[in-house]
Protein backbone atom coordinates (compact mmCIF):
# COMPACT_ATOMS: atom_id res chain seq x y z
CA UNK A 1 0.00 0.00 0.00
CA UNK A 2 2.94 2.30 0.63
CA UNK A 3 3.98 1.73 -2.98
CA UNK A 4 0.45 2.64 -4.09
CA UNK A 5 0.73 5.78 -1.97
CA UNK A 6 3.93 6.74 -3.77
CA UNK A 7 2.11 6.47 -7.11
CA UNK A 8 3.09 2.95 -8.19
CA UNK A 9 0.24 1.82 -10.46
CA UNK A 10 1.58 -1.73 -10.68
CA UNK A 11 1.34 -2.03 -6.92
CA UNK A 12 -2.31 -1.07 -7.05
CA UNK A 13 -2.95 -3.75 -9.68
CA UNK A 14 -1.23 -6.30 -7.44
CA UNK A 15 -3.33 -5.17 -4.50
CA UNK A 16 -6.54 -5.61 -6.51
CA UNK A 17 -5.44 -9.05 -7.66
CA UNK A 18 -4.61 -10.24 -4.18
CA UNK A 19 -7.88 -9.09 -2.61
CA UNK A 20 -10.49 -9.25 -5.40
CA UNK A 21 -11.56 -12.88 -4.95
CA UNK A 22 -11.67 -12.54 -1.18
CA UNK A 23 -13.87 -9.45 -1.35
CA UNK A 24 -16.14 -10.78 -4.08
CA UNK A 25 -16.51 -14.00 -2.06
CA UNK A 26 -17.29 -12.09 1.11
CA UNK A 27 -19.93 -9.88 -0.52
CA UNK A 28 -21.45 -12.77 -2.46
CA UNK A 29 -21.89 -14.78 0.73
CA UNK A 30 -23.26 -11.67 2.43
CA UNK A 31 -25.88 -10.79 -0.17
CA UNK A 32 -26.15 -13.80 -2.51
CA UNK A 33 -25.96 -11.38 -5.41
CA UNK A 34 -22.83 -11.73 -7.59
CA UNK A 35 -23.41 -8.46 -9.47
CA UNK A 36 -23.82 -6.46 -6.27
CA UNK A 37 -20.81 -8.28 -4.83
CA UNK A 38 -18.57 -7.15 -7.70
CA UNK A 39 -19.87 -3.60 -7.50
CA UNK A 40 -19.16 -3.44 -3.78
CA UNK A 41 -15.73 -5.03 -4.15
CA UNK A 42 -14.84 -2.51 -6.84
CA UNK A 43 -16.03 0.32 -4.62
CA UNK A 44 -13.76 -0.92 -1.82
CA UNK A 45 -10.75 -0.71 -4.17
CA UNK A 46 -11.76 2.74 -5.40
CA UNK A 47 -12.06 3.98 -1.82
CA UNK A 48 -8.62 2.61 -1.07
CA UNK A 49 -7.28 4.31 -4.17
CA UNK A 50 -8.88 7.63 -3.25
CA UNK A 51 -7.50 7.45 0.27
CA UNK A 52 -3.98 6.42 -0.77
CA UNK A 53 -2.44 9.87 -0.28
CA UNK A 54 -3.43 9.97 3.37
CA UNK A 55 -2.65 6.33 4.15
CA UNK A 56 -0.59 5.70 7.27
CA UNK A 57 0.39 2.13 8.16
CA UNK A 58 -0.89 2.38 11.72
CA UNK A 59 -2.92 -0.85 11.63
CA UNK A 60 -3.04 -4.03 9.58
CA UNK A 61 -3.85 -3.25 5.97
CA UNK A 62 -6.25 -6.19 5.70
CA UNK A 63 -8.18 -4.93 8.74
CA UNK A 64 -8.58 -1.57 7.03
CA UNK A 65 -9.79 -3.27 3.84
CA UNK A 66 -12.39 -5.26 5.75
CA UNK A 67 -13.40 -2.20 7.75
CA UNK A 68 -14.25 -0.44 4.48
CA UNK A 69 -16.00 -3.61 3.32
CA UNK A 70 -18.07 -3.80 6.48
CA UNK A 71 -19.15 -0.16 6.17
CA UNK A 72 -20.08 -0.61 2.53
CA UNK A 73 -21.98 -3.81 3.27
CA UNK A 74 -23.81 -2.12 6.12
CA UNK A 75 -24.86 0.85 3.97
CA UNK A 76 -25.76 -1.38 1.05
CA UNK A 77 -27.77 -3.63 3.34
CA UNK A 78 -29.80 -0.67 4.57
CA UNK A 79 -30.74 0.46 1.07
CA UNK A 80 -31.23 -3.12 -0.12
CA UNK A 81 -33.47 -3.77 2.88
CA UNK A 82 -35.74 -0.95 1.86
CA UNK A 83 -35.90 -2.25 -1.70
CA UNK A 84 -36.64 -5.81 -0.62
CA UNK A 85 -39.34 -4.94 1.88
CA UNK A 86 -42.08 -5.44 -0.69
CA UNK A 87 -40.59 -8.73 -1.87
CA UNK A 88 -40.51 -10.14 1.67
CA UNK A 89 -44.11 -9.13 2.17
CA UNK A 90 -45.20 -10.91 -0.97
CA UNK A 91 -43.31 -14.01 0.17
CA UNK A 92 -45.20 -13.86 3.45
CA UNK A 93 -48.48 -14.37 1.67
CA UNK A 94 -47.38 -17.65 0.11
CA UNK A 95 -48.34 -20.98 1.65
CA UNK A 96 -45.05 -21.49 3.45
CA UNK A 97 -43.94 -17.90 3.77
CA UNK A 98 -45.40 -17.17 7.19
CA UNK A 99 -43.41 -19.91 8.92
CA UNK A 100 -39.92 -19.34 10.28
CA UNK A 101 -37.16 -19.82 7.74
CA UNK A 102 -35.44 -22.41 9.93
CA UNK A 103 -38.47 -24.68 9.88
CA UNK A 104 -38.72 -24.33 6.10
CA UNK A 105 -35.08 -25.32 5.70
CA UNK A 106 -35.53 -28.31 7.97
CA UNK A 107 -38.74 -29.31 6.23
CA UNK A 108 -37.29 -29.27 2.75
CA UNK A 109 -35.00 -32.14 3.54
CA UNK A 110 -36.64 -33.51 6.63
CA UNK A 111 -36.89 -37.03 5.22
CA UNK A 112 -33.39 -37.10 3.83
CA UNK A 113 -30.34 -38.05 5.84
CA UNK A 114 -27.40 -35.81 5.27
CA UNK A 115 -25.39 -38.41 3.35
CA UNK A 116 -28.10 -38.68 0.73
CA UNK A 117 -28.20 -34.97 0.18
CA UNK A 118 -26.76 -33.83 -3.02
CA UNK A 119 -23.72 -31.66 -2.51
CA UNK A 120 -25.42 -28.71 -4.12
CA UNK A 121 -28.52 -29.18 -2.00
CA UNK A 122 -26.46 -29.22 1.19
CA UNK A 123 -24.69 -26.11 0.00
CA UNK A 124 -28.06 -24.45 -0.50
CA UNK A 125 -29.11 -25.40 3.06
CA UNK A 126 -25.93 -23.87 4.42
CA UNK A 127 -26.46 -20.73 2.34
CA UNK A 128 -30.00 -20.43 3.64
CA UNK A 129 -28.83 -21.05 7.20
CA UNK A 130 -26.27 -18.28 6.80
CA UNK A 131 -28.96 -15.96 5.51
CA UNK A 132 -30.95 -16.43 8.73
CA UNK A 133 -28.18 -14.66 10.64
CA UNK A 134 -28.35 -10.92 11.01
CA UNK A 135 -25.91 -8.80 9.03
CA UNK A 136 -23.37 -8.36 11.83
CA UNK A 137 -23.37 -12.03 12.77
CA UNK A 138 -22.94 -13.02 9.12
CA UNK A 139 -20.07 -10.61 8.57
CA UNK A 140 -18.32 -11.79 11.74
CA UNK A 141 -18.73 -15.46 10.76
CA UNK A 142 -17.42 -14.87 7.23
CA UNK A 143 -14.42 -12.84 8.40
CA UNK A 144 -13.60 -15.44 11.01
CA UNK A 145 -14.15 -18.55 8.95
CA UNK A 146 -12.91 -17.49 5.54
CA UNK A 147 -10.45 -14.74 6.34
CA UNK A 148 -9.13 -16.41 9.47
CA UNK A 149 -9.31 -13.15 11.36
CA UNK A 150 -8.88 -13.06 15.12
CA UNK A 151 -11.56 -11.64 17.41
CA UNK A 152 -9.40 -8.53 17.89
CA UNK A 153 -9.06 -7.96 14.13
CA UNK A 154 -12.76 -8.56 13.54
CA UNK A 155 -13.44 -6.09 16.34
CA UNK A 156 -11.24 -3.50 14.62
CA UNK A 157 -12.94 -4.05 11.28
CA UNK A 158 -16.45 -3.95 12.73
CA UNK A 159 -15.76 -1.38 15.44
CA UNK A 160 -16.56 -3.79 18.26
CA UNK A 161 -14.67 -4.93 21.33
CA UNK A 162 -13.17 -8.45 21.25
CA UNK A 163 -15.66 -9.38 23.99
CA UNK A 164 -18.55 -8.22 21.79
CA UNK A 165 -17.15 -10.21 18.87
CA UNK A 166 -16.97 -13.28 21.12
CA UNK A 167 -20.64 -12.94 22.03
CA UNK A 168 -21.61 -12.15 18.43
CA UNK A 169 -19.85 -15.24 17.07
CA UNK A 170 -21.19 -17.39 19.87
CA UNK A 171 -24.78 -16.37 19.12
CA UNK A 172 -24.19 -16.75 15.38
CA UNK A 173 -22.83 -20.26 15.75
CA UNK A 174 -25.58 -21.27 18.12
CA UNK A 175 -28.14 -20.00 15.58
CA UNK A 176 -26.41 -21.94 12.81
CA UNK A 177 -26.33 -25.05 14.98
CA UNK A 178 -30.07 -24.81 15.60
CA UNK A 179 -30.88 -24.33 11.92
CA UNK A 180 -28.50 -27.03 10.69
CA UNK A 181 -28.98 -29.37 13.65
CA UNK A 182 -30.16 -32.34 11.61
CA UNK A 183 -27.05 -32.24 9.42
CA UNK A 184 -24.62 -32.48 12.30
CA UNK A 185 -26.22 -35.26 14.38
Amino acid sequence: MLRVKSGDETAFAQLVLSYQDRLVGLFTNMFRDPVLAEDLAQEVFLRIYRARAGYEPTAKFSTWVFQISHNLAHNSRRSKGRRNETQFRSEDTSSVGSRPKESQIAEKSGLMPVRQLDKEELRERVREALSTLNERQRMAVLLHRFEGMSYADIGDAMELSPQAVKSLLSRARENLRQVLEQYVQ
Binding site: A13, Q42, L46, Y49, R50, L122, V126, S167, L169, L176
Partner: protein
Protein backbone atom coordinates in the same frame (compact mmCIF):
# COMPACT_ATOMS: atom_id res chain seq x y z
CA UNK B 1 -35.04 -27.54 27.19
CA UNK B 2 -32.10 -27.11 24.83
CA UNK B 3 -28.83 -28.63 25.85
CA UNK B 4 -27.01 -25.34 25.74
CA UNK B 5 -29.42 -23.74 28.16
CA UNK B 6 -27.89 -25.82 30.90
CA UNK B 7 -24.71 -23.77 30.56
CA UNK B 8 -24.41 -20.12 31.49
CA UNK B 9 -24.27 -17.52 28.73
CA UNK B 10 -20.65 -16.87 29.55
CA UNK B 11 -19.84 -20.59 29.33
CA UNK B 12 -21.56 -20.77 25.95
CA UNK B 13 -19.50 -17.82 24.67
CA UNK B 14 -16.37 -19.37 26.09
CA UNK B 15 -17.08 -22.74 24.47
CA UNK B 16 -17.02 -21.07 21.07
CA UNK B 17 -13.96 -19.00 21.96
CA UNK B 18 -12.28 -22.21 23.14
CA UNK B 19 -12.94 -23.81 19.75
CA UNK B 20 -11.47 -20.74 18.06
CA UNK B 21 -8.39 -20.73 20.27
CA UNK B 22 -9.28 -17.29 21.59
CA UNK B 23 -9.26 -18.06 25.31
CA UNK B 24 -6.38 -17.19 27.58
CA UNK B 25 -4.71 -19.88 29.65
CA UNK B 26 -7.00 -19.67 32.68
CA UNK B 27 -10.11 -19.54 30.48
CA UNK B 28 -8.92 -22.57 28.55
CA UNK B 29 -8.29 -24.52 31.77
CA UNK B 30 -11.73 -23.60 33.05
CA UNK B 31 -13.51 -24.73 29.87
CA UNK B 32 -11.48 -27.92 29.74
CA UNK B 33 -12.64 -28.55 33.30
CA UNK B 34 -16.26 -28.01 32.25
CA UNK B 35 -15.80 -30.32 29.24
CA UNK B 36 -14.25 -32.98 31.44
CA UNK B 37 -17.23 -32.98 33.77
CA UNK B 38 -20.11 -32.43 31.36
CA UNK B 39 -21.03 -34.73 28.51
CA UNK B 40 -23.61 -32.12 27.48
CA UNK B 41 -20.86 -29.54 27.03
CA UNK B 42 -18.77 -32.04 25.05
CA UNK B 43 -21.70 -32.77 22.74
CA UNK B 44 -22.28 -29.06 22.32
CA UNK B 45 -18.68 -28.41 21.40
CA UNK B 46 -18.71 -31.23 18.86
CA UNK B 47 -21.93 -29.98 17.29
CA UNK B 48 -20.71 -26.41 17.16
CA UNK B 49 -17.49 -27.52 15.51
CA UNK B 50 -19.30 -29.69 12.96
CA UNK B 51 -21.79 -26.91 12.20
CA UNK B 52 -18.95 -24.52 11.56
CA UNK B 53 -17.29 -27.07 9.27
CA UNK B 54 -20.46 -27.10 7.18
CA UNK B 55 -19.64 -23.54 6.14
CA UNK B 56 -16.89 -25.02 4.00
CA UNK B 57 -19.70 -26.26 1.76
CA UNK B 58 -20.25 -22.67 0.66
CA UNK B 59 -18.85 -21.91 -2.72
CA UNK B 60 -15.89 -19.60 -3.01
CA UNK B 61 -16.95 -17.19 -5.71
CA UNK B 62 -14.23 -15.55 -7.75
CA UNK B 63 -14.17 -12.17 -9.40
CA UNK B 64 -15.02 -12.13 -13.08
CA UNK B 65 -12.20 -12.22 -15.60
CA UNK B 66 -12.16 -8.55 -16.42
CA UNK B 67 -12.68 -7.37 -12.84
CA UNK B 68 -9.05 -6.32 -12.35
CA UNK B 69 -8.93 -4.35 -15.61
CA UNK B 70 -12.26 -2.67 -14.92
CA UNK B 71 -11.22 -1.69 -11.42
CA UNK B 72 -7.86 -0.29 -12.47
CA UNK B 73 -9.48 1.58 -15.36
CA UNK B 74 -12.05 3.10 -12.98
CA UNK B 75 -9.29 4.13 -10.59
CA UNK B 76 -7.30 5.75 -13.41
CA UNK B 77 -10.41 7.56 -14.56
CA UNK B 78 -10.80 8.99 -11.09
CA UNK B 79 -7.18 10.11 -11.20
CA UNK B 80 -7.79 12.01 -14.44
CA UNK B 81 -11.04 13.45 -13.30
CA UNK B 82 -11.27 13.49 -9.54
CA UNK B 83 -14.80 13.38 -8.24
CA UNK B 84 -16.38 16.66 -7.19
CA UNK B 85 -16.25 15.62 -3.58
CA UNK B 86 -12.45 15.30 -3.79
CA UNK B 87 -11.85 18.96 -4.72
CA UNK B 88 -10.43 21.05 -1.85
CA UNK B 89 -12.85 23.88 -2.59
CA UNK B 90 -15.78 21.47 -2.49
CA UNK B 91 -14.62 20.10 0.85
CA UNK B 92 -14.23 23.69 2.12
CA UNK B 93 -17.66 24.66 0.81
CA UNK B 94 -19.25 21.61 2.37
CA UNK B 95 -17.63 22.47 5.69
CA UNK B 96 -18.69 26.12 5.72
CA UNK B 97 -22.05 25.72 4.01
CA UNK B 98 -24.06 25.25 7.24
CA UNK B 99 -22.58 28.43 8.73
CA UNK B 100 -22.97 30.31 5.45
CA UNK B 101 -26.55 29.13 5.11
CA UNK B 102 -27.46 30.34 8.56
CA UNK B 103 -25.72 33.67 7.96
CA UNK B 104 -27.77 34.21 4.81
CA UNK B 105 -31.01 33.28 6.61
CA UNK B 106 -30.23 35.70 9.44
CA UNK B 107 -29.35 38.52 7.01
CA UNK B 108 -32.53 38.03 4.98
CA UNK B 109 -34.62 37.94 8.16
CA UNK B 110 -32.96 41.11 9.39
CA UNK B 111 -33.59 42.89 6.07
CA UNK B 112 -37.25 41.86 6.05
CA UNK B 113 -37.68 42.94 9.66
CA UNK B 114 -36.05 46.31 8.98
CA UNK B 115 -38.29 46.94 5.97
CA UNK B 116 -41.45 46.02 7.85
CA UNK B 117 -40.50 48.22 10.79
CA UNK B 118 -39.65 51.12 8.53
CA UNK B 119 -42.92 50.91 6.61
CA UNK B 120 -45.34 50.09 9.41
CA UNK B 121 -44.08 52.12 12.38
CA UNK B 122 -44.18 55.89 11.88
CA UNK B 123 -40.92 57.65 12.52
CA UNK B 124 -40.75 60.34 15.19
CA UNK B 125 -39.18 62.75 12.71
CA UNK B 126 -42.09 62.28 10.33
CA UNK B 127 -44.60 63.17 13.05
CA UNK B 128 -42.62 66.25 14.04
CA UNK B 129 -42.41 67.45 10.47
CA UNK B 130 -46.08 66.82 9.91
CA UNK B 131 -47.06 68.82 13.00
CA UNK B 132 -44.46 71.49 12.61
CA UNK B 133 -46.97 74.33 12.07
CA UNK B 134 -48.72 73.54 15.36
CA UNK B 135 -45.50 72.98 17.30
CA UNK B 136 -44.17 76.24 16.03
CA UNK B 137 -47.10 78.10 17.57
CA UNK B 138 -47.39 75.91 20.66
CA UNK B 139 -46.66 78.73 23.10
CA UNK B 140 -49.46 80.81 21.67
CA UNK B 141 -51.88 77.91 21.81
CA UNK B 142 -50.88 77.02 25.36
CA UNK B 143 -51.75 80.51 26.53
CA UNK B 144 -55.35 79.99 25.49
CA UNK B 145 -55.57 76.88 27.74
CA UNK B 146 -58.05 75.21 25.43
CA UNK B 147 -56.62 72.04 24.04
CA UNK B 148 -59.79 71.06 22.23
CA UNK B 149 -59.54 74.33 20.39
CA UNK B 150 -55.87 73.62 19.77
CA UNK B 151 -56.72 70.22 18.41
CA UNK B 152 -59.23 71.62 15.99
CA UNK B 153 -56.96 74.50 15.17
CA UNK B 154 -54.17 72.11 14.29
CA UNK B 155 -56.31 70.65 11.53
CA UNK B 156 -57.03 74.05 9.98
CA UNK B 157 -53.91 74.47 7.96
CA UNK B 158 -55.01 77.58 6.17
CA UNK B 159 -55.95 79.38 9.36
CA UNK B 160 -52.66 78.35 10.91
CA UNK B 161 -50.76 79.71 7.98
CA UNK B 162 -52.64 82.92 8.20
CA UNK B 163 -52.03 83.21 11.94
CA UNK B 164 -48.43 82.47 11.34
CA UNK B 165 -48.13 85.20 8.77
CA UNK B 166 -49.84 87.70 11.05
CA UNK B 167 -47.67 86.83 13.99
CA UNK B 168 -44.66 87.26 11.81
CA UNK B 169 -45.83 90.63 10.60
CA UNK B 170 -46.52 91.82 14.16
CA UNK B 171 -43.12 90.82 15.33
CA UNK B 172 -41.59 92.92 12.58
Amino acid sequence: MSKLQRLSAEDRDNLVAYLDGELDESGTRRIEGVLGQSSVARTDVEQLARTYDLLDELETPRASENFTERTIASAKLEQIKPSLAQHPWFVFLRRVSPIGGWAIVIMVAAAIGFSITRLAVPQEDDVLLENYPVIKELDVYSETGNYEFLDRLSREQELLDQMSREAHRESQ
